[in-house]
């Protein structure tokens, strides 16, 4: 029953998710990756539905075909944009400096706006295809502005040697959330940014120390200090997780809906760290397990396993084999990561999500154009993924 304070349930057993993930993984491998677009849709549907604030499930409305077309279109754009761009940059780089890598650097720099664009559109697709209690979320199509602002922040982060990170994170999150609506009501985003900085210190000191030692060692060719990495690296790694978790908590608490509704979540950095480490180990073990299965399959076809034999494979088999290997490592890795990393994190964090003044939600209404079947088909055809 919907009360004024909603707590959240997480429903579903990891075993069910694993079953879906494994079947999607195998289908993706044998279809050389084609199925992965549908597979990821199924996984997201399951994940969204497992999170139930007030017992009422979130819902993912995305469609596999849209993921596929989105990928193909963005791939074409990248191929065209990059292919010609990098050639031109490398040309000038060779012409002026006689080496290739200035050209590469210039191309990568030109990729930064594209990166922010993709992140924005990825988030927008997820938001636009999320439903809760029959009402859809929406996000404005402001990807041009976001690409520019994101690039400026990236530049500032580099210029300040990383100190601008929390500020950037706050600002970009504010940009995204203030263009997000739930039905007729827009989100507001307001909070104390200095709290973010206090969470940032452990990570920054660890990372800065690690980087400074590396720089100093390379510059003076004196490697005796590298031993300090034993201290600085774990501080940096744990500090990073602590920062991201704490930032997440704070950013959630900065949200307002219809001025009254607020959100709160409690997450333990230690738990997240443990899940990440353990999940990573399990995921890698499973990758090698899948690899072993396919190696046995290869060996059973009677071919021997020597470098000579591999070199003599017909081109087609080599390409197929390479694709299978790639998919095993990346796609299968991603699925296993969802089961052993993402979902455990959701299971830990989501039950701590609290929504205050939830009765105010009843005053929200659905946006008119959504009541009919979504006419804006083409714009939403392109899903650039959201890291899930």
């Amino acid at each position: 029953m919907a009360g004024n304070v909603l707590t959240t349930n997480v429903v579903g057993a990891r075993a069910s998710l694993l079953r879906i993930a494994v079947s999607c993984s195998i289908l993706s491998i044998v279809t050389l990756g084609l199925y992965s677009f549908w597979g990821r849709t199924r996984i997201r549907r399951w994940l969204w539905s497992s999170v139930r604030p007030g017992g009422m499930p979130l819902e993912y409305l995305g469609v596999g075909m849209e993921k596929f077309t989105g990928f193909v279109v963005i791939a074409s754009i990248i191929a065209v944009y990059t292919g010609f761009l990098v050639m031109i940059f490398v040309f000038f780089s060779l012409q002026t400096f006689g080496v290739i890598w200035y050209g590469y650097a210039a191309t990568i720099i030109c990729m930064v706006p594209l990166y922010h664009l993709a992140r924005y559109r990825g988030r927008r697709y997820l938001v636009n295809h999320t439903l809760w209690r029959g009402i859809r979320f929406r996000m404005e199509s402001a990807w041009w502005s976001y690409a520019i602002i994101g690039t400026l922040w990236t530049a500032l982060i580099l210029l300040t040697l990383g100190l601008a990170e929390p500020l950037a994170r706050y600002s970009l999150e504010k940009f995204k959330m203030e263009r997000t609506t739930y039905g007729s009501s827009a989100f507001n985003f307001e909070g104390n940014i200095f709290g973010l900085y206090s969470d940032f210190t452990m990570f920054y000191s660890g990372a800065f120390a690690t980087g400074a030692i590396a720089f100093f060692s390379v510059y003076s060719a004196n490697w005796t200090w590298i031993g300090l990495w034993v201290v600085t690296l774990p501080v940096a790694v744990f500090g990073y997780i602590h920062y991201r978790v704490s930032a997440f908590k704070k950013l959630i608490s900065f949200l307002y809906l219809t001025d009254d509704i607020t959100f709160d979540i409690d997450v333990s950095s230690g738990r997240i760290f443990a899940i990440t480490v353990l999940g990573g180990l399990i995921k890698n073990a499973l990758i090698f397990g899948m690899l072993a299965i396919f190696t046995l399959f290869y060996l059973s076809t009677g071919r021997e396993f020597s470098l000579q034999a591999v070199e003599e494979l017909p081109l087609l088999v080599f390409i197929l084999g390479g694709a299978v290997l790639y998919i095993i490592f990346v796609v299968h890795g991603r699925y296993m990561s969802v089961v052993f990393n993402t979902f455990p994190i959701v299971q830990h964090a989501a039950p701590n999500l609290i929504i205050y003044q939830a009765l105010q939600l009843d005053n929200i209404s659905q946006l008119d154009e959504i009541k009919m079947r979504d006419a804006d088909g083409l714009a939403e055809m392109f899903d650039f993924g959201g890291g899930f």
Partner: protein, 400 residues
């Protein structure tokens, strides 16, 4: 009548009407409306119930089922019905015939497939047609000085890459051998005009034999000593040199550098392998550029044959050299043949053998003494500390 006959089993569910986020507790039952079975959703304070035709009801799949089942209409509209009661769910399964059908309309699938196929054709066309053309165009635009700078850098890099130890490969400098080399170069390059000087160096690769010759931007040609030792007569060296000259004339090295830089990076981005140095992107990039390289090899062979004819060197020398390479070292099969930039020897032999027009202007390339000197060219080297600019002058074999 027994007590149980008076008890009406009512099933309750959560209903969201898609107009506001309100959660309504409703009762659900299957009724007949004008002869059609309907799912009746009774709202608490509304006399008019909502009717869903049973044929249009869909069940959400790929979701956790521990907390009930969620139903919606087949047109994808926002209202949702969340039923937790197991008996109620059973009732739904029995009454609704099409619970598991998909919600995506066929038209979207067709439109999407067309978009995808067109995009993939675009990418393929890009790699196979436009990129090679564009790279040649850019290569032709590059200034002569830049090409020479590139070539010089490549020369130094090659000395390091192919060395078996930390020292760069020595450049061979025995004077009589050099003179013989000059004679070959002068003969083969007759009538060939280039915007830059030809610079030819022989590397002493006895520690790590390469059996190869390389053409670099800006007119730099490298011949490994093992090739000279492998040849049986100077006409074969002349033929190899003619082939490398073909690369120089067509400016393959610059276009190839641009091509492979581009293909490697694009492949890396497409496969998400942006960490660079990734095996996938390097192999992928090579697969793309190797087609282009193979075509340039064939172009260089064609140039070589024509040029050998012009200057009176037997074309068969090229064929003989390939034949011997194949007999000694075997032909590349499968993937190695494709990734290696040289087409299989068999192909190149065939191409040469079909060229049977008799040649009437044949003259020997070197005398016996000159040939012996050339084979001996690596008995002396330029000093290891010779600066590159000086090397440039020493290996300069003249402008054309």
């Amino acid at each position: 009548m027994s007590y149980s006959d008076h008890i009406e089993t009512r099933y309750y569910a959560d209903y969201y009407d898609g107009e506001t986020p309100r959660q309504y507790i409703v009762d659900v039952e299957i009724v007949m409306d004008e002869g059609q079975p309907m799912l009746q959703i009774g709202l608490p304070h509304d006399d008019e119930a909502i009717l869903w035709p049973v044929g249009m009801v869909r069940l959400q799949k790929d979701i956790p089922l521990e907390d009930g089942a969620i139903f919606q209409l087949e047109d994808g509209s926002p209202p949702r019905l969340h039923i937790r009661d197991k008996d109620a769910i059973r009732m739904m399964r029995q009454a609704c015939p099409a619970l598991r059908l998909d919600i995506i309309p066929r038209k979207v699938i067709i439109k999407a497939s067309v978009v995808s196929v067109l995009s993939m054709l675009l990418i393929a066309a890009l790699f196979v047609f436009f990129m090679p053309g564009f790279s040649s165009l850019l290569a032709s635009r590059m200034s002569t000085e830049s090409k020479i700078t590139m070539g010089r850098a490549n020369l130094e890099q090659t000395r390091v890459i192919f060395s078996a130890n930390e020292m760069p490969l020595p450049i061979c400098a025995e004077p009589l051998g050099e003179a013989a080399l000059r004679k070959i170069v002068g003969r083969i390059a007759t009538g060939v005009s280039l915007p830059y000087d030809l610079r030819v160096a022989v590397f002493d690769d006895r520690q790590n034999p390469q059996l190869n010759a390389l053409a670099m931007p800006g007119g730099y040609i490298v011949l490994f000593d093992s090739v000279i030792k492998q040849a049986e007569r100077p006409e074969e060296i002349a033929a190899v040199f003619a082939h490398e000259l073909g690369h120089i004339v067509h400016d393959h090295a610059v276009a190839s550098a641009l091509q492979s830089a581009s293909a490697t990076l694009v492949f890396a981005l497409l496969t998400g392998d942006v960490s660079g140095g990734g095996l996938v992107s390097i192999v992928g990039g090579k697969l793309v550029t190797s087609t282009y390289s193979r075509n340039s090899e064939i172009e260089a062979d064609d140039f070589a044959r024509n040029q050998l004819r012009r200057v009176g060197v037997p074309v068969s020398a090229l064929t003989e050299f390939f034949r011997r390479m194949r007999d000694e070292y075997g032909d590349a099969e499968g993937i190695v043949a494709h990734l290696g930039t040289h087409p299989r020897f068999a192909e190149r032999i065939n191409a040469s053998v079909t060229d049977v027009t008799p040649q009437s202007n044949l003259r020997p390339v070197l005398s016996r003494a000159e040939w012996a000197a050339l084979r001996n060219i690596c008995s002396a080297h330029y000093r290891i500390d010779t600066p590159p600019s000086l090397i440039d002058r020493l290996i300069n074999f003249g402008a054309n």
